[in-house]
């Protein structure tokens, strides 16, 4: 497949999405109003662990304006369970979440009933007086309690360890036995999550005449979710449509199938009325996937001159009460990326996924990468200090060189085959980064107290994959006015695919971008699509559009040939026109009007060969040891992202990801008490970065090496930049205090 280049790809084109969003004309799910719609509020467990004895809705039902209170008892047949979408780990099926609690509750926030009323406020009034009787079972608030055996979330499993496996490469044990130097440390990352500005919401409408369910408010993987919902409703796929509107941020947590994704449509069919559900912020904190709570006991073996020989680690992910659609992603990716971009021949991993009585955890931007980079990079600095080697030099000695790439990393997750890091110049980017922070120039301030604060420098490296999952599909259609409609299975959540995909299509068809409209995500657009996760919208969606564009050109030529009664080989496509015999010319509009059938072309792209992005970040901080305040004086990020479809969008992703990472390091924490009660209930408790917190960030996206793993030569750019942040900050603070 030959990719054309013309005007748009590679340029910082202003976004097509912006005008409507800036004018307040976006349509997020709560902006939608359907005639006759009623409102749903979910009644949630107030206890972390218990037997669900009874639900008394009599007081609620007596409130004027309340239509119904539905519970597990109203669901005919089996209560559905949330399936695994990715990272399925053997033996975890019994730990899946039912769409509503029926006999047992396992986390504060677990849905036990759904109240439907004429207004959101009335539904909330009613939900407050639904009487839920729960007999407490000893709660399991953390992984230590989980492993003690005192209380099990799933009695018949007799364990809270949902999954445990060993995996690795080489022979770590032998390396440890021979090593001149070893060091073992324990690290952890606290529970936090994506916290997008728009909470989740759904508007479901059951049409009883056509027996068709439409659900607005889909995101991330609408086609997958459609299949799940259709199955749970006992409907064929074609009778269910999930519509993606504007989405106020996802970062991995929004769009995964949660209980409400069944309960709200179920309620609509039950009542034969459209039902709208809009999550509020307090609810979001207990009901939408948590993430990041991972513990790591890691040991490193080195030669006396600081060459890493082996790593071995036990990784424990606290998954909350159930193994959700993200499967074992957290623990497994932490293990997979622990060795990072370094030459470490022998790696031994013991990976555990444990359930506790907390909100279920799933993917959040760079799952396992943020955590593993912290564990690794922090350990490296400790080792470097022990061995008397500067942290930068230690990394230089151990980073894979350009000549060693592609580097086979082996099979480090059980649900995928072996893979390899591909091309890159890790050392050059590390050096660029070190130069940018002033590693040499600022050496003298490291650990020094200046104006009452201790100064430090820190650096860290990472590697990350992108573009997971199945293929993607796209359909192009020429409209009667000559404009192009692109329907793509990728999902939008703020990352600008309406613009970037149009850039790609415009270059392929060699027409002005203004003539292209991109439609995304909804199941009404295509028969099959696969959505956006793990930074795959350009890799999969973008390349699918390339394929569709190439097919479109052939389709146009054949169509014009038929129209003119000539051979297709006598037709030339040229910048939005068809030409034959050197003179007769047709525009796309003319051709579209001249033929009966719509002019459409399909394209698809998939690959199991993920490209790997990489980079180095560094920071300079000043630490006030009397208050604990850390001021980030400078933060620099250098990453080789290869070809950028829109450098402005790429840069925006980097800054956003770094600030999110800094929030995760300094501010964000979902806290539970010893009874597994969630203490974090508002944005006054869950602290998010604001404009004044991190003003000194520079991100440089380099187009140094191009991947050969897809025709466009693109890597994903949405997640990488969050990966190294915790490691860098951990190191820079330690450096200041040394």
């Amino acid at each position: 497949m030959t990719v054309s280049h013309n005007n748009y790809v590679g340029r910082p084109i202003p976004r097509t999405e912006d005008p409507r969003l800036l004018r307040g004309k976006g349509c997020f799910v709560d902006d939608m109003h359907r005639p006759g719609a009623v409102h749903a509020v979910i009644v949630r467990s107030h206890m972390a662990h218990g037997h669900l004895l009874a639900i008394d809705a009599s007081r609620a039902l007596s409130i004027p304006g309340v239509c119904a209170v539905l519970t597990a008892a109203d669901i005919k047949g089996e209560i559905g369970v949330l399936p695994f979408r990715i990272a399925p780990l053997e033996g975890t099926e019994p730990f899946r979440q039912p769409v509503i609690a029926s006999k047992r509750v396992r986390y504060v926030g677990e849905p036990v009933a759904i109240v439907i009323a004429e207004s959101h406020a009335i539904a909330e009034d009613a939900a407050e007086v639904v009487d839920v009787s729960i007999e407490q079972i000893e709660p399991v608030p953390d992984v230590t309690a989980a492993r003690s055996g005192q209380s099990y979330l799933f009695e018949d499993q007799r364990t809270n360890v949902a999954s445990r496996y060993q995996i690795g490469r080489g022979k770590a044990q032998a390396a440890f036995e021979k090593a001149a130097y070893t060091r073992r440390e324990q690290f952890s990352v606290q529970r936090h999550t994506a916290m997008p500005m728009e909470m989740r919401g759904l508007l479901a409408e059951w049409n009883s005449e056509t027996e068709h369910m439409t659900v607005w408010g889909a995101a991330k993987v609408p086609f997958f979710n459609r299949k799940v919902l259709a199955g749970m409703l006992g409907l064929p796929n074609e009778k269910v449509d999930l519509i993606e509107l504007d989405v106020g941020g996802a970062f991995g947590v929004r769009g995964e199938f949660h209980p409400e994704d069944f309960l709200v449509p179920f309620a609509s069919r039950h009542l034969s009325r459209p039902v709208k559900w809009q999550e509020d912020r307090r609810e979001h904190m207990m009901a939408t996937n948590h993430s990041r709570e991972i513990y790591c006991d890691v040991e490193i073996a080195c030669s006396s001159d600081g060459l890493i020989l082996a790593l071995r680690a036990q990784v424990i992910a606290d998954l909350g009460a159930y193994v959700g659609t993200s499967g074992g992603i957290l623990a497994s990716r932490t293990g997979q990326f622990l060795a990072g971009p370094y030459r470490i021949p022998d790696v031994d991993l013991d990976i555990l996924s444990i359930v506790t009585n907390k909100t279920p955890a799933g993917s959040y931007r760079g799952p396992g990468r943020f955590e593993s980079s912290f564990f690794r990079e922090r350990l490296f600095d400790m080792v470097a200090r022990d061995l008397g080697i500067d942290g930068l030099e230690f990394r230089r000695r151990n980073l894979l060189t350009q000549g060693e790439l592609p580097y086979d990393i082996g099979q480090l997750v059980p649900y995928e085959g072996p893979t390899s890091y591909e091309c890159g110049d890790y050392l050059a980017v590390l050096q660029d980064c070190a130069n940018a922070i002033g590693w040499a120039e600022k050496a003298s301030i490291r650990g020094r107290k200046i104006d009452g604060k201790y100064h430090g420098l820190g650096i860290g490296c990472f590697v990350d994959s992108s573009g997971a999952g199945p293929k993607e599909n796209a359909i192009l259609r020429i409209e009667k006015d000559g404009s192009i409609s692109v329907s793509v299975g990728s999902s939008a959540n703020g990352q600008g695919i309406e613009t970037a995909h149009a850039q790609i299509c415009a270059d392929q068809l060699r027409i002005p971008m203004e003539r292209i409209s991109v439609f995304h995500g909804s199941t009404t657009l295509l028969s099959e699509g696969f959505g956006s996760f793990h930074s795959r919208s350009m890799i999969m969606g973008g390349n699918a559009i390339v394929a569709a564009s190439i097919n479109m050109i052939e389709t146009l030529k054949a169509c014009a040939a038929k129209y003119w009664g000539v051979l297709p080989s006598n037709v030339v496509y040229e910048d939005g026109h068809l030409r034959t015999h050197g003179r007769i010319l047709l525009s796309l509009a003319e051709l579209a009007c001249a033929v009966d059938a719509p002019i459409e072309a399909f394209g698809s792209f998939g690959t199991k060969m993920k490209p790997f992005g990489y980079g180095s970040h560094a920071a300079h901080v000043a630490v006030d040891v009397d208050t604990g305040h850390v001021e980030v004086l400078d933060y620099v990020a250098f990453e080789d992202v290869g070809r950028m479809i829109n450098p402005m969008i790429v840069h925006g992703q980097k800054i956003g990801a770094i600030v999110q990472g800094l929030g995760g390091v300094f501010l964000e924490h979902l806290m539970y008490d010893d009874n597994a009660q969630l203490l974090t209930g508002s944005l006054a408790d869950y602290l998010l970065p604001t404009a004044t917190d991190f003003l000194n960030i520079r991100a440089v996206a380099l187009d140094l090496t191009r991947t050969t793993r897809n025709p466009l030569g693109v890597k994903g750019a949405g997640e990488d930049a969050i990966a190294p942040v915790a490691g860098v900050i951990g190191n820079v603070i330690a450096d200041a205090l040394t």
Binding site: D280, D626, L679
Partner: protein, 291 residues
């Protein structure tokens, strides 16, 4: 988080508000700026039968300065206090503190009366009013009374305000221009409630600290006058040992809450640091005054 059901009344006058409060017998709340009250209703931590809106009573939103001191109407908004030239010139401690209150958008609506009535232990305004030995003027069915700040703030979110009373004004005694002062707070982000804070002023007489007023906030169930700390400073020259001793006493005198965000030990240590830095900052103004 929709609000619980309620009835809304707009008060035509202070008397009207009081009459309505009396009518509801404790089941009604005054709403002014609503910046603290509405979130409580949204979380259903409070569910009053009625809200009595005093927001249109323009007479309660004036700022007056004379020989008797500063009088601020209870409905005066933070933004108006911030912009007031009179306050900037004549009450530097108050002026400085206001900049720390919440955010720009909240300051456009929140009122001083509302903040005092809400009595959040980490709020700036109760601390400043306390440090300045202010009085809160309260009007109810039984007439008007003046309550010393120290008597007004009684505990966590708890004041001396009776069910049928409205704060009408805050009076601060005249500010002595010879005062050295400082206001300092520490929070995780700009605009957050303080994890610890101090409002203070004192004079220097014969190179010794005189009439110190030291108030801590965020370190107890309400803003606290730190008497023992004041005593440790009064009549003493501000030598390092004196300051160290005062800091050590202050750390024990405060009563930080148990809070997952900031454990008591941390708050004690932090408060000591803030106190020391504030004292130094205040003393630094002395050099300015003398030169």
């Amino acid at each position: 988080m929709k609000l619980p059901p309620l009835t809304y009344h707009r008060a035509e006058s202070v008397e009207h508000a009081i009459a309505l409060l009396a009518q509801y017998q404790g089941e009604a709340r005054i709403i002014a700026g609503g910046q603290s009250l509405i979130p409580m209703l949204a979380y259903r931590l409070a569910a009053p039968a009625a809200l009595i809106d005093i927001g249109r009573l323009a007479d309660l939103a004036t700022i007056g300065l004379d020989d008797q001191g500063l009088s601020i109407g209870s409905l005066t908004r933070w933004c108006d206090i911030q912009c007031s030239t009179e306050i900037r010139k004549n009450h530097p401690l108050l002026h400085d503190a206001i900049g720390h209150v919440a955010h720009y958008q909240i300051r456009n609506r929140g009122t001083i009366g509302g903040s005092l009535a809400h009595c959040d232990p980490a709020a700036e305004c109760p601390a400043v009013v306390l440090a300045c030995q202010g009085e809160i003027i309260v009007q109810g069915s039984n007439g008007t009374r003046s309550v010393r700040a120290e008597d007004f703030f009684q505990g966590l979110l708890s004041t001396d305000l009776q069910d049928d009373e409205v704060i009408t004004a805050i009076k601060l005694p005249p500010w002595n221009p010879k005062r050295l002062w400082a206001f300092s707070e520490f929070s995780r982000r700009t605009g957050d409630f303080a994890l610890a804070g101090v409002a203070m002023h004192f004079e220097m007489v014969s190179d010794c600290i005189s009439v110190p007023s030291i108030v801590g906030f965020g370190v107890g169930d309400r803003a606290l006058v730190l008497r023992a700390t004041q005593d440790a400073l009064e009549f003493n020259a501000p030598e390092p040992e004196t300051i160290a001793r005062a800091v050590s006493i202050a750390r024990e005198e405060i009563d930080p809450p148990v809070d997952p965000h900031a454990p008591p030990d941390y708050r004690r240590a932090l408060f000591g640091v803030l106190l020391e830095r504030a004292l130094k900052e205040a003393l630094g103004r002395n050099r300015g005054l003398m030169s």
